[in-house]
Every structure is written in structure tokens, then in C-alpha cells.
């Protein structure tokens, strides 16, 4: 057996150090093939968060069709939704951002503010004819950074059978909502279910009440927002909604509605496929009730936007912009809207879409007046969103009156 001398040790140590460096280098990289401006682009990297079926297959198919039309192959990578931003930040620091990046619309301005995205007008893309809220969400400091093909929002779902039996009409105003919810509450069945957990989901569901009443995220300590919060507090306090709303996600709310534990719920069209699995469940959707009859309902916009990151290679970026353009074409907006129960963002397409998909009528109408969460505060939105759900939780648990809760959260 060879003796283990100092020479061996030194060699081993330097070998170990080299191996470590290689391992680290391998972790950092991610296939950042660099083609010069003159070379032709053969493939593009795309990053999104559509990991669940059927979305996963829908986007694989759509993106490869778009790639084929533009003469490139698509290397698509999908990561779980809650890890996307962390992945993007890692890729920003290692300079391995993908050629095409999908972002949840309220995240776009934060990422654009870092300088990681390219304004799309450089590639001749514009958002003309898109719903205003959608354009707001995809713009930062007056420049367009993303194009969003489809959007969604939330409405009031109701169980047709329960409402018919109780002779209750779907409510259109806050007063009607309170009365209907109380009338529909009996035994194990609550009148209304909504989600008010301690995260952005709680904020998202509160926004239509706050905005429709003239409340504003720049300062939440206003009488308008307090009145909106008061409505939810009363619904919980008189037993028309469960105290569990404090811990329910939107999926939990949907479970309660399907189980018949709630006659009405606040939720979005992405629940249609789940709800339709139960053939005995008859339901319909109306807009979230307005503060007063005839008032405009302002709902928050959901959905994802497609961007072109700063990869430093204009040839690839130009090709990437073609892919973004293709994903947002009229034809693909209608296709995605139909397959994913969402609404096309080009307003001109909506009439045709609703004629085709009557179940989407309510949501299509809501989108016209819907607002983007980041339209006022931009990258500062997360701080405001935290304040909103914090205030909502403290009012719903009775720790403070709505006005006090909002005041405390605003001064946080």
C-alpha cells in the first residue's frame, strides 16, 4: 500500500479544491450558450410556472407552435409558482436569465425596476387595444415591459338550487349581500364563503370591496376602506360567514362551496373545471356586489405577462420578442382563454369570446373596469398588500375596529 506522504496530501488538497470550484461553476451555469449578433438563433429558453395540468400541456403546445412559426426550438422550463421569483433572482445574479420570461402580473414592475427586463417597444411591440388595467400592470415608468394574453378576476358564485329553494335572488349590492347571506345561513350551511388568510390571497379577495367603495392602497386608513372592511366584519360577526375565512385559501373556499357548506362564495373562473366535475352542483356567477345600486364594481386583475429579459444578445432578444408576440396573437388569446377559462385581454376580442363561451360573460364584463394591483404603487405594492391583509385579519378577529385596524396597519 502506498504511503500517504505530504506530497500526496498536497496533491489531494489541490485536487479537492479544483473539484469544488468546478462543482460551483456547474451550479451557477445553466446552458448560457452565447451566439454572436451575426449568428442565427436555433433555440430559445423559456421560463414559466405552469407546472400543473392541463396548463402545462397547453403552454408546451402553444410555445412549440410559436417556436416552429419563428424557426426556433423552445427549451421550456416550468418551476412551481412560489419559487419563480427566487429563480429569476438567481438567474439575474448569474447572468443566465431565459430568453422569454413569464411573470405573474403584480411582480412585473418589481422585476422591471431591477433593470432585468427589456422595454418591448424596442422590438416594435405595443399593447394597443388591450384592457387598460392589463397595460398598467405590464408597464413601468411609462414603458411597456410585458404583454399579457389572458386575464381573470373574481366574482360571486352562487348555488342555484339553494338560492331558488330559499327564494333569494343573487345579490347586487352590499345591503342585498348581507340580507341574502343571513337568509341563506342555516345549520351547517353558511350564506357566504370568502378567503381572508394572512397572505396576498386575503388582500386579493378584499380588493373588489375596497376599490368599488373608493378605497385606495396608497392610504388604507380612509372611511371608504373602513366601510368595506366593516361589511366583511359584519358578515362574520352575524354568523353569515365562518370565522374560518381567516385561514381559508381560495381552494378551501371552493371545497366549502362544493360540499354545500356555503350558498355563495367569492372565487375565480379557474375553479370552473373543479366545480364542473360535480354534475349535481348547479351554480352561476354574478359580479361581486357593488356598494350601492348602479355603482361600478372594480375587481383586481389576475393572470401572467410575458417578458423579454436583458440577456445582452439582441439577436436572441428580437427572436424572443417574436415568441411573446405570437403568444399574444388574437388567435392564441382566444385559444388560451377558452382552454384556461380566462378572458382575452384585447377588448375587441371579448364580444366574440363571450358569444363562444357564455359562462365567461360575467368575468368578461368585469375585466373592462378591473384594476391592476400595481397600477398605483408599482414595486411598492407588496408592502401595501401586507398592510391590507394585516388590517383585515385584525378587524375580523375583533382585535380592533375596522377603522383602527386600518390606521394601525397603515402606520405599521
Amino acid at each position: 500500500m502506498p504511503k500517504f506522504t505530504s506530497k500526496h496530501a498536497a496533491r489531494l488538497a489541490s485536487f479537492a479544491a479544483t473539484a469544488l470550484l468546478f462543482a460551483l461553476a456547474a451550479c451557477g451555469g445553466g446552458g448560457g450558450e452565447s451566439t454572436g449578433p451575426s449568428e442565427s438563433v436555433k433555440s430559445l429558453r423559456v421560463l414559466d410556472y405552469y407546472t400543473n395540468e392541463p396548463d402545462n400541456s397547453i403552454y408546451t403546445k402553444l410555445l412549440s407552435a410559436c417556436g416552429e412559426a419563428n424557426g426556433v426550438t423552445i427549451q421550456r422550463e416550468a418551476v412551481p409558482g412560489d419559487t419563480l421569483i427566487q429563480r429569476v433572482l438567481q438567474q439575474s445574479s448569474s447572468k443566465t436569465l431565459p430568453d422569454v420570461l413569464m411573470l405573474d402580473n403584480p411582480d412585473l414592475q418589481q422585476i422591471a425596476a431591477t433593470g432585468a427586463l427589456t422595454p418591448l417597444d424596442e422590438f416594435g411591440l405595443s399593447a394597443e387595444g388591450y384592457a387598460n388595467g392589463v397595460v398598467d400592470a405590464s408597464s413601468y415608468r411609462g414603458k411597456l415591459y410585458g404583454l399579457q394574453p389572458i386575464t381573470n378576476t373574481i366574482g360571486l358564485f352562487y348555488n342555484k338550487d339553494i338560492l331558488a329553494n330559499a327564494r333569494v335572488k343573487p345579490p347586487a349590492t352590499w345591503d342585498e349581500l348581507r340580507i341574502a347571506a343571513r337568509q341563506l345561513t342555516s345549520g351547517k350551511q353558511y350564506g357566504l364563503a370568502f378567503a381572508a388568510p394572512a397572505n396576498y390571497e386575503g388582500t386579493w379577495q378584499f380588493l373588489p370591496f375596497m376599490w368599488s367603495n373608493g378605497g385606495d392602497e396608497t392610504n388604507i386608513a380612509t372611511p371608504q376602506t373602513a366601510a368595506a372592511l366593516q361589511l366583511l366584519v359584519e358578515l362574520v360577526n352575524d354568523g353569515s360567514a365562518s370565522k374560518s375565512v381567516l385561514n381559508w385559501t381560495q381552494a378551501d373556499v371552493n371545497d366549502q362551496f362544493m360540499a354545500g357548506n356555503a350558498a355563495m362564495m367569492i372565487n375565480g373562473p379557474w375553479q370552473f373545471p373543479v366545480l364542473n366535475q360535480d354534475k349535481s352542483l348547479h351554480y352561476d356567477v354574478v359580479p361581486i356586489p357593488a356598494p350601492k345600486a348602479g355603482a361600478t364594481v372594480v375587481a383586481p386583475l389576475g393572470g401572467e405577462t410575458w417578458t423579454v429579459p436583458q440577456t445582452g444578445n439582441t439577436t436572441r432578444q428580437r427572436k424572443a420578442a417574436k415568441i411573446v408576440e405570437c403568444v399574444n396573437s388574437d388567435e392564441n388569446q382566444l385559444l388560451l382563454a377558452k382552454e384556461r377559462q380566462t378572458v382575452p385581454t384585447r377588448t375587441a376580442l371579448q364580444a366574440k369570446f363571450v358569444a363562444d363561451q357564455p359562462s365567461m360573460k360575467t368575468f368578461s364584463e368585469l375585466v373592462a373596469n378591473a384594476r391592476a394591483r400595481t397600477s398605483q404603487l408599482g414595486p411598492e405594492w407588496p408592502k401595501a398588500a401586507t398592510k391590507i391583509y394585516t388590517a383585515e385579519q385584525s378587524a375580523l378577529t375583533g382585535q380592533a375596529s375596522p377603522a383602527e385596524a386600518l390606521e394601525q396597519a397603515q402606520n405599521g
Binding site: 504511503k3 505530504s6 496530501a9 498536497a10 489531494l12 488538497a13 479537492a16 479544491a17 469544488l20 421569483i85 427566487q86 433572482l89 438567481q90 439575474s92 445574479s93 418589481q110 422585476i111 425596476a113 431591477t114 433593470g115 432585468a116 351547517k188 388568510p197 394572512a198 397572505n199 396576498y200 365562518s242 370565522k243 374560518s244 381567516l246 385561514n247 357548506n261 436583458q310 407588496p382 408592502k383 401586507t386 394585516t390 385579519q393 385584525s394 375580523l396 378577529t397 382585535q399 394601525q408 402606520n411 405599521g412
Partner: protein
């Protein structure tokens, strides 16, 4: 590491021929020792030293998601620390961290020790039962917290249904929705998850106590509580020290269960320093403030680690 040196040289004196031994200067031996140490030191520096230093530095910087792209993180002094300490939720989070840690460990330790003592006696199926006890530990935290979230649901949860059937409650307690109960509920779940860990280590400690001691004590009339007091407890002390320090550190940094059960709600009733640090860094993407919060947690852990080191050194001295 210091003890390795002399032992190593003894081996060398035996193995190396006399002629070569004379040539080897102390300096050279020192180099060899250093080279043996180098891989371990490189590993420590890279994977423990660097992240901690980076985290400490980050706590003094305005480090946001823009930093990842531009690499620019302006120095802001103690701004991050004053911001997180002055925030409305900090006081609550600090108190909750204390209650959560003390409550969890007291419960986990008492139950864990009781179970370990129980299994010291052999009875049919004791081996099977002991391995079944490990189950809560084997289930991924995300799964067990999701299941507990259903069990503790106010209206339809199994816990409330059982309590109602037994006529123990008239109204449904809001385990996860009432600010006065939520922390207790989270502690109970954490105890359930932590007991197997305590049982395993304490049971191991009990196995090390020689049977003869109990026999000798029994002859002198010391059985039951007296035997526990004078034999079991003093001899179990090393295992107790280890389990408590590990327990404190694991509990201080626990976020999965809280995020899974209540997300820090209702109304921040279950917010701890750890969950708040996670929120600042990975939800609001203010990595500077998140790091500042994290460093406060590291400092608290460090205090416990020092206590542990002193306690174990005293045990060695004795």
C-alpha cells in the same frame, strides 16, 4: 483538532525510518498537519463562514431584488435593524418566539422523557410500538401541517367534533382562527412533531445507564422516584443537554409548521422572528431587513450555544 497532532506524530515515528525522521523539521510537520486540515477548513469557510458573513453584511445593506441584477447594495448602517425592531409586529414576534420555544420544548421534553421511561421496560410489541412512535417525525412537515389544518378546522375539523361529542365544549373553539388560541394550537402540533426526536435521544441515553446500578440501589431501598432522582436523572444529564440545545435551535428557526397552519395569522398571533424574517426576505423581497431579522435570531441561538458549551465543559471538568 489539537489532539490529532501528537497522536499523528506517534504513528509517524513508528512508520518512518530513522534516517528520514531526522530530516523532517517541525516546520514541515506543521505544513503537513495544515494540509490535512485544509479540506475541512475550506468546507467550513465556504459553507458556514461565507453565508454567515454574507448574512451579517447584508443586514447592513439596502439589499433588494434589484441587487441581484445590478450587484449594487448601498450601505445603510443600522437602518435595517431599527426598521425591523421598530415595526409594529416585532414585539409580538419576539414574545411569540419565546412562548413558542419554551412551550414546545417543555411539552416535547416532558412527553418525550415519559415515553422513553415507559419503553425502558420491555413488554410484548414494545419494539414495534417504539418504531411507530417515530411516524410524526417521518412525515414531511408540509404534509403534517396540511393534515393538522383540516383536523383543527373550526366548523368541520375532527378535533372539534370529538370535543363536541364528549361534551367538552359547547361552542366550537377557533383553534387556528382565534388570536388567543392559535399560538397554543401551533405549539401543540409542534409538540406532536417533536416528541419522537426527544424520545429517541432520551431512550438512547437511558440504554447507556448500567442495569447493575438499579439493582444495587434496589438493595439499598431506592426504587421508583428515588431511583430516578439519584440514578436516572444524573446519568441522563449529557443526553438531556444535547437534546435541549438541539431542541432550542430547531424550535427557534421553525417556520414550516407555522406557515402551513396559520401563515403567521390570525392577526399576527403566531408570527415569530423566523416567520417574519422569511416574510421580509422572500415575500416582500427586502433581503436587507430579512437578513437583519435573521441575524437577531442567530444572535439568540448563539447565546444558547454558549450556554451549552459552558454546561458541557463543566460536565467534563467534573
Amino acid at each position: 483538532m489539537a489532539s490529532l497532532g501528537p497522536a499523528g506524530s506517534v504513528v509517524q515515528i513508528v512508520a518512518v525510518p530513522a534516517a528520514r525522521r531526522r530530516r523532517r523539521s517541525p516546520q514541515r510537520r506543521y505544513t503537513v498537519e495544515l494540509l490535512f486540515l485544509a479540506p475541512a477548513m475550506a468546507y467550513m469557510l465556504l459553507f458556514f463562514g461565507y453565508p454567515i458573513v454574507k448574512n451579517v453584511v447584508m443586514g447592513f445593506q439596502h439589499y433588494t431584488n434589484a441587487t441581484f441584477f445590478t450587484g449594487v447594495a448601498p450601505w445603510v448602517g443600522v437602518d435595517n435593524y431599527s426598521a425591523v425592531i421598530r415595526s409594529a409586529v416585532f414585539g409580538k414576534a419576539a414574545v411569540n418566539t419565546l412562548l413558542f420555544t419554551v412551550g414546545s420544548i417543555a411539552g416535547q421534553f416532558t412527553i418525550g422523557l415519559a415515553i422513553a421511561l415507559y419503553f425502558q421496560r420491555r413488554f410484548p410489541l414494545s419494539g414495534v410500538l417504539r418504531s411507530l412512535l417515530l411516524l410524526p417525525w417521518l412525515i414531511p412537515l408540509i404534509v403534517s401541517s396540511a393534515v393538522w389544518r383540516w383536523l383543527l378546522d373550526e366548523d368541520n375539523g375532527a378535533v372539534n367534533q370529538v370535543l363536541r361529542t364528549l361534551n367538552l365544549v359547547s361552542d366550537n373553539p377557533g383553534w387556528l382562527t382565534s388570536p388567543s388560541l392559535a399560538l397554543t394550537a401551533v405549539i401543540i402540533v409542534n409538540i406532536w412533531i417533536g416528541v419522537p426526536f426527544y424520545t429517541t435521544i432520551l431512550y438512547g441515553g437511558l440504554q447507556d445507564i448500567p442495569e447493575e446500578l438499579y439493582e444495587a440501589a434496589a438493595l439499598d431501598g431506592a426504587t421508583g422516584w428515588k431511583a430516578f432522582q439519584h440514578i436516572t436523572w444524573p446519568l441522563l444529564r449529557p443526553a438531556v443537554n444535547v437534546v435541549l440545545v438541539l431542541g432550542v435551535v430547531y424550535t427557534l428557526k421553525m417556520i414550516d409548521i407555522i406557515l402551513g397552519l396559520t401563515r403567521g395569522g390570525p392577526a399576527n398571533a403566531t408570527q415569530t422572528i423566523a416567520t417574519q424574517s422569511y416574510h421580509l426576505s422572500f415575500v416582500e423581497f427586502d433581503f436587507g431587513q430579512g437578513a437583519a431579522m435573521g441575524n437577531i435570531l442567530i444572535a439568540i441561538s448563539l447565546v444558547f450555544a454558549i450556554f451549552y458549551l459552558r454546561a458541557s465543559r463543566r460536565a467534563v471538568d467534573q
